[in-house]
C-alpha cells in the first residue's frame, strides 16, 4: 500500500530517509565501485516503501557485494559463501512478516551457491534476491567468474577463460522465478524503480544488476553505460509495449521462427510486426527468449522480464499447518506421547 492510499484508520506508515538506513560503519568498497550506487539507490528506494526499518533484513554470502548488510542500519546477516538463500529461507519461515533481501554476486550466487539459488527460486520464497554481476571475482583479487565471457583473461585464465558463461536471468527463468528483472548500477532512476517493483512483488524476486568492477574488470559493461552507445545496445522493457530501441527509436525486435531478430522500422516493417512485451505471461518462454539476447548481436534487455503471481513457500507451509489444525485440532503433548500402544504398569 502506498502512503497516498493510507486512510486515517490504518497504522501510520513509518517515514524514513535514506540517512536513517545508513549504519555507522565506514563503507569500504574500492573507490569508483558500482556497489556504492546500488547501496545509495537501495536506501533511497526502501525509505519510500512504508516498511518499518526493524522489519528489513539483509542477508548476504561472501564477496565484495556481500559486505552490503554492514552498511545498512537494518537487521543483517553476513553468512557463508553461497548459502545466503538458505538462511534467508529459514528466517522467512520463522517470521514471514520480515522483508528480506538477499545480496549476492556472480561468484557467490551462481558458482558456489548455484544450487541454493535455484531452489529458493523454485520454491518461490518471498525473498528479494539482488545479484551484483561484475563478471569477475573481486574479493579474491580477480579470477574469472561463472558469468565471465569466454576469452576473459585473468590471473587464473591467462590464455583466456574457456568456461561457457551462465546467464543469470536464463537460469532464474529456468527455475520459474515469479519476478525477474535486470538493471544497471549507474542508471540510478531505473535501478531505484526496479528495486521498488521487486520489493512490491510477493514471492521470489530475482534482480541482476550490471555492476562495474573498477579494479579487475573495468568497462566490461561500457556498451550499456556509455552515453554515446547505450541507446543502441539496450532495450528497456515495458509491459504491453513493442520491443523498440535505438537512439532514434527506429529499431525493433521481431520473431523469426522461434528466434528473435533485430529489424529496422520503416521500409515495410512497422511496429505491428514487433514482439510485444508481456511480463505477466504464464509461460516463461518469452522472458527466456529475452534473457538470451546478448550484446553485440542483440540489444540487451533491461527492466522487468517477468512478474507473475504464485503462492509463496511460506504461505503454503503455514496453510498446511492451519489446515491440519482446523481439521484435527492443535496438537497436545499428552496425545503425542501416547501415539503408540500404551500400557499401564501397576
Amino acid at each position: 500500500m502506498s502512503a497516498a492510499t493510507a486512510t486515517a484508520t490504518t497504522t501510520p506508515l513509518p517515514t524514513l530517509t535514506p540517512k536513517d538506513l545508513a549504519s555507522d560503519q565506514e563503507v569500504r568498497w574500492c573507490p569508483g565501485c558500482g556497489d556504492y550506487s546500488i547501496l545509495a539507490q537501495m536506501k533511497k528506494a526502501l525509505a519510500t516503501l512504508g516498511i518499518a526499518r526493524e522489519k528489513m533484513v539483509f542477508i548476504s554470502g561472501i564477496g565484495c557485494s556481500s559486505r552490503f548488510p554492514y552498511y545498512m542500519n537494518t537487521y543483517g546477516f553476513h553468512t557463508i559463501h553461497g548459502r545466503a538463500p538458505t538462511l534467508a529461507t529459514g528466517l522467512k519461515v520463522a517470521n514471514p512478516e520480515l522483508s528480506i533481501w538477499v545480496i549476492t554476486g556472480d561468484g557467490d550466487g551462481l558458482s558456489i551457491g548455484g544450487n541454493h539459488l535455484i531452489h529458493a527460486i523454485r520454491r518461490n520464497v518471498d525473498l528479494k534476491i539482488l545479484l551484483f554481476n561484475n563478471e569477475i571475482y573481486g574479493l579474491t583479487k580477480g579470477q574469472y567468474s561463472p558469468t565471465s565471457r569466454v576469452g576473459t583473461r585473468t590471473k587464473s585464465s591467462p590464455q583466456g577463460s574457456i568456461d561457457n558463461p551462465l546467464r543469470p536471468l536464463s537460469l532464474a527463468i529456468g527455475a520459474e522465478a515469479t519476478f525477474v528483472a535486470r538493471t544497471i548500477d549507474v542508471d540510478i532512476n531505473h535501478l531505484t524503480e526496479t528495486l521498488r517493483r521487486a520489493s512490491a512483488h510477493k514471492g521470489t524476486a530475482f534482480i541482476e544488476v550490471y555492476q562495474n568492477c573498477k579494479i579487475f574488470n573495468d568497462g566490461v559493461f561500457e556498451y550499456a553505460t556509455d552515453k554515446g552507445v547505450k541507446a543502441d545496445n539496450l532495450l528497456f522493457l515495458e509491459h504491453g509495449k513493442p520491443l523498440i530501441f535505438g537512439k532514434d527509436r527506429n529499431k525493433g525486435v521481431r520473431l523469426h521462427g522461434l528466434d528473435p531478430e533485430v529489424v529496422s522500422l520503416g521500409s515495410g516493417i512497422t511496429v505491428d510486426d514487433l514482439l510485444i512485451h508481456d511480463e505477466k505471461a504464464e509461460e516463461p518462454s518469452l522472458a527466456y527468449l529475452l534473457s538470451r539476447m546478448v550484446h553485440p548481436r542483440f540489444p540487451e534487455c533491461v527492466g522487468v522480464f517477468r512478474a507473475v503471481q504464485r503462492p509463496t513457500y511460506e504461505d503454503l507451509l503455514n496453510k498446511q499447518i492451519e489446515d491440519i489444525r482446523r481439521n484435527r485440532g492443535a496438537g497436545k503433548l499428552e496425545d503425542l506421547f501416547a501415539s503408540d500402544d500404551v500400557w499401564v504398569v501397576e
Binding site: D24, M72, G76, T79, A94, N95, V345
Partner: protein, 650 residues
C-alpha cells in the same frame, strides 16, 4: 499335513516352561515383512509387561534381489522378566523365512537354540541363491539345534484361501503366520496386533481379513500340532509403575523437539535432507504439523543447516539432523553458528564411515569430528543420549543448553539408538523441565550509546570501549555484550531499535562490529571457549555405578551404555572390582570427570570406533585409559566387554 487338518484337530498338550529372558530374531528377505513382524512382537511383549530391547538390522538396498544374502533383513527382540539394557548377545530362537536368512543368521543362534524355518522356501533355486551346495535341512548342518520345519508358504495360502486376494498378495501375508506361531510359542497376546491390523488395513478389508486369519492360523498351528512339544512363558518384569509405550531413538528425538519448543514457547523449524538413518526424524516431524512444526526438506545438507541457522536468527529453534557424510557438509555452517552465537541443534545419527561407509549400520566414530571438525578454534556443546528413551531427555537438554548459552549444540545419536526400541515411561507434560527464552524488546538493559551508554559500557566488565573498527563510537544495540555467563542476548529481527548485523567475520567484543584486531581476536577465541566451558556448572556430575573403591572403571558414552552396564553388572556379580560411568555430556564434560577418573587404578573405554573418547580422556586428564574398540557396524556384545573386564582384572 495341511492347514485344514491342522485346524480340525483338538488342542494337544504342550509343556509350559518358564524362562527369565528370551532373545529372538526374525530373519527373511527384505520383502518378507520381518521388520513389521519384529515390531509387532515387541509391542505385544511390552504390553504383556516384559522389559524389552530391540535391534533391527536391514540392508542398505531397498530390495536386493529376492532370496540373496544381500537382501536379508532381520529384527531382534530381547524380552525379559528383568530390567534389561541390550537386545541380547546370542539368539535363543531364530525364525528363518528362507535359506539366505538361515545362512546369514545361524551363527548367532545358541547351541541347542530353537530354529523355525519356512521349509517351503528351501527349493533348489533358493538354496542356490543363498550359496548352499546341499539342503541344510537335510544334510546335518542343523544338528545341535531344535529345528521346526514349518511349510509356512503352504499353510499361509490355505489360511487365506477363502479371501479374495491375488496369489502375490496372499503370499505377502506369510509374516503374520510366522508371527502367530511365535506368539503361541512364547504365550504373547494376539490382540494388540489384531488391533493394529484392523487400523492399518481399515480401507482394505480383504488384506485385513487375510492377515487376521493367517495370524490366528499360525497361533493355532502351534497349539494344535504335536510338532511343537513345548512352549514358554516369560513373566512380567518389575517395572516402575506408570504409563508406558515403546519408543525408538528417532521417535524420542522427534517428540522431544516438539515438547521442548512447546515448553520454551518458540517455533520449531526443522530442516533436513534425506539420509539414513536420520530421515525418520524428518518423517515423524513432517507428520506433526498440528503442533505448528515447520519442516523443510532442503536441497542439500548445507541448505538444511543454513535454514536452521536462519530460523534461529529469527527467534525460532532451528534444528537439522543428518548422518555420516552429511555432517561433513554441515561443518562450515556450524562454524557460522558458533561465530554468530545462535541457538540451534545439529543432530548426528552416527553410522558406519568413512565416506558413504555403512549407511544402515551403527558406529560412534564422529566424536572427534563433533569436537574439532571445523576450521579455527570452534567449540560448541555436545551431548549424547545413552538409550532410545534417553534420546528424549538429551534432546530436551540440548535445546535447553542451546537457548541458555546461545550456542549450537551437537547431539550424537547413532543407528543403534535411532532404530532400537525400549519401553518409555510416558512423562506428564506439566512436569517437563522449564526452558525460558528471553528476546530483548528494547535497548533497556543492553549497552547503548544513548544517555546511559557510558554506564552500560562500564558494565560489560571486560575493559572494551565499544568502538567500531573505524574508531567511531558504535550506537544502538550491542549484539555481543554478554551476561556474567558470557552469554549474549537473542535479539530478533522485527524488534524496533535493536537493528544489528552479525556474520562470520571476527567480531569486535561487545559491539559485534567487524574487527581484525589481533588482541580482540584472541580475546574472542577465549571468550567463546569459556562460554562453552561454563556449561559444566549447569549439568549433572558424572555418576559412578558400583563401588567407588573398585579397581577398574569402565567409561563409555552414547549408545554403548546398555552393553557396558550389563557387562559391569555381571562382572560385579562374579566378584570383579569394577564400576562404570557413562558420559552423556561430551563437551563440556561434567566438572567432576577428572576427579572420578583419577580415583581408579585402571580405566577401560569401550567404544564403537578406534579410540576417540580414549584420546580425549588421555589428553584432557592424563589418565592411562585402555580401549576396547570394535568397528564392525554392530553394537557391542555384552560378553565382549565382560571378557575384557575379566582380562584386565584377571
Amino acid at each position: 499335513m495341511t492347514a485344514s487338518t491342522t485346524l480340525e484337530r483338538k488342542p494337544v498338550r504342550h509343556d509350559l516352561e518358564e524362562l527369565d529372558s528370551v532373545t529372538i530374531r526374525f530373519a527373511g528377505d527384505s520383502g518378507d515383512g520381518m521388520q513389521l513382524a519384529g515390531t509387532q512382537f515387541t509391542n505385544a511383549s511390552a504390553i504383556l509387561g516384559n522389559d524389552i530391547s530391540t535391534l533391527p538390522d536391514f540392508p542398505a538396498e531397498i530390495r536386493a534381489p529376492a532370496g540373496t544374502l544381500a537382501g536379508v533383513s532381520g529384527f531382534q527382540v530381547h524380552f525379559s522378566k528383568y530390567d534389561i539394557h541390550t537386545p541380547g548377545d546370542n539368539l535363543n530362537s531364530l525364525v528363518a523365512m528362507n535359506p539366505a536368512a538361515l545362512k546369514t543368521n545361524l551363527k548367532d543362534l545358541e547351541s541347542g537354540g530353537i530354529l523355525i524355518v519356512n521349509s517351503d522356501a528351501f527349493t533348489t533355486a533358493d538354496l542356490h541363491k543363498a550359496g548352499y551346495k546341499s539342503n541344510p535341512l537335510e544334510d546335518g548342518t542343523l544338528k545341535g539345534y531344535r529345528i521346526f520345519r514349518v511349510p509356512i508358504n503352504k499353510l499361509n495360502r490355505e489360511a487365506v484361501a477363502e479371501v479374495k486376494l491375488s496369489p502375490r498378495e496372499a503370499d505377502r501375508c506369510k509374516n503374520f503366520f510366522a508371527l502367530g506361531l511365535v506368539y503361541w510359542m512364547y504365550e504373547r497376546p494376539m490382540e494388540p496386533t489384531l488391533r493394529w491390523i484392523r487400523e492399518k488395513f481399515a480401507k482394505n478389508p480383504a488384506v485385513l481379513e487375510a492377515n487376521t486369519r493367517t495370524l490366528k492360523a499360525g497361533y493355532n498351528y502351534g497349539e494344535t500340532t504335536e510338532t511343537m512339544p513345548v512352549h514358554y512363558k516369560v513373566a512380567k518384569a518389575q517395572i516402575k509403575p506408570g504409563r508406558y509405550r515403546k519408543i525408538t531413538g528417532n521417535e524420542a528425538l522427534a517428540m522431544a523437539l516438539v515438547a521442548a519448543t512447546e515448553v520454551a514457547n518458540i517455533p520449531l523449524v526443522y530442516a533436513s535432507y534425506p539420509i539414513t538413518p536420520a530421515s525418520d526424524v524428518l518423517h515423524h516431524l513432517s507428520d506433526l504439523k498440528r503442533f505448528g512444526v515447520r519442516t523443510m526438506q532442503a536441497e542439500d545438507e548445507i541448505a538444511a543447516s543454513g535454514m536452521a541457522i536462519g530460523a534461529a536468527f529469527g527467534g525460532a529453534m532451528g534444528v537439522t539432523a543428518t548422518s555420516g557424510p552429511g555432517i561433513c557438509l554441515k561443518s562450515e555452517a556450524i562454524g557460522l553458528a558458533v561465530m554468530t552465537e545462535l541457538p540451534c541443534l545439529i543432530i548426528n545419527v552416527q553410522r558406519g564411515g568413512p565416506s558413504t561407509g555403512l549407511p544402515t549400520k551403527t558406529e560412534q566414530a564422529d566424536l572427534l569430528q563433533a569436537m574439532y571438525g571445523r576450521n579455527g578454534e570452534c567449540p560448541l556443546a555436545i551431548v549424547a543420549p545413552c538409550s532410545p528413551s534417553d534420546c528424549f531427555t538429551m534432546t530436551f537438554e540440548a535445546i535447553r543448553l542451546a537457548i541458555a548459552y546461545m550456542t549450537p549444540v551437537i547431539l550424537l545419536s547413532d543407528g543403534y539408538l535411532a532404530n532400537g526400541a525400549e519401553p518409555w515411561l510416558i512423562p506428564n507434560p506439566a512436569g517437563l523441565p522449564k526452558i525460558s527464552v528471553r528476546h530483548p524488546i528494547s535497548l533497556t538493559g543492553n549497552g547503548t550509546a544513548d544517555s546511559n551508554g557510558e554506564d552500560s559500557k562500564a558494565e560489560n566488565g571486560k575493559g572494551e570501549n565499544g568502538t567500531g573498527e573505524n574508531g567511531k563510537i558504535a550506537t544502538g544495540f550491542y549484539p555481543y555484550k554478554r551476561d556474567e555467563r558470557l552469554v549474549r542476548e537473542w535479539a530478533i529481527p522485527g524488534t524496533p531499535g535493536l537493528e544489528h548485523r552479525i556474520g562470520g567475520l571476527e567480531k569486535e567484543d561487545v559491539t559485534g562490529n567487524v574487527s581484525y584486531d589481533p588482541a580482540n581476536h584472541e580475546h574472542m577465541i577465549h571468550t567463546r571457549a569459556q562460554k562453552i566451558a561454563n556449561i559444566a556448572k549447569d549439568i549433572p556430575p558424572l555418576e559412578i555405578k558400583g563401588a567407588a573403591d573398585a579397581e577398574l572403571l569402565v567409561v563409555g558414552w552414547g549408545g554403548t551404555y546398555g552393553a557396558i552396564t550389563t557387562a559391569v553388572d555381571r562382572a560385579q556379580r562374579k566378584g570383579f572390582k569394577v564400576a562404570s560411568a557413562h558420559l552423556r555430556y561430551l563437551n563440556p564434560m561434567p566438572q567432576n570427570t577428572g576427579e572420578v577418573l583419577k580415583r581408579f587404578k585402571k580405566i577401560l573405554v569401550p567404544e564403537l570406533n578406534a579410540g576417540q573418547l580414549r584420546l580425549l580422556l588421555r589428553g584432557m586428564f592424563l589418565v592411562d585409559a585402555v580401549g576396547l574398540n570394535k568397528v564392525q557396524g554392530r553394537p557391542f556384545l555384552v560378553s565382549e566387554i565382560e571378557t575384557k573386564i575379566a582380562e584386565m582384572l584377571g
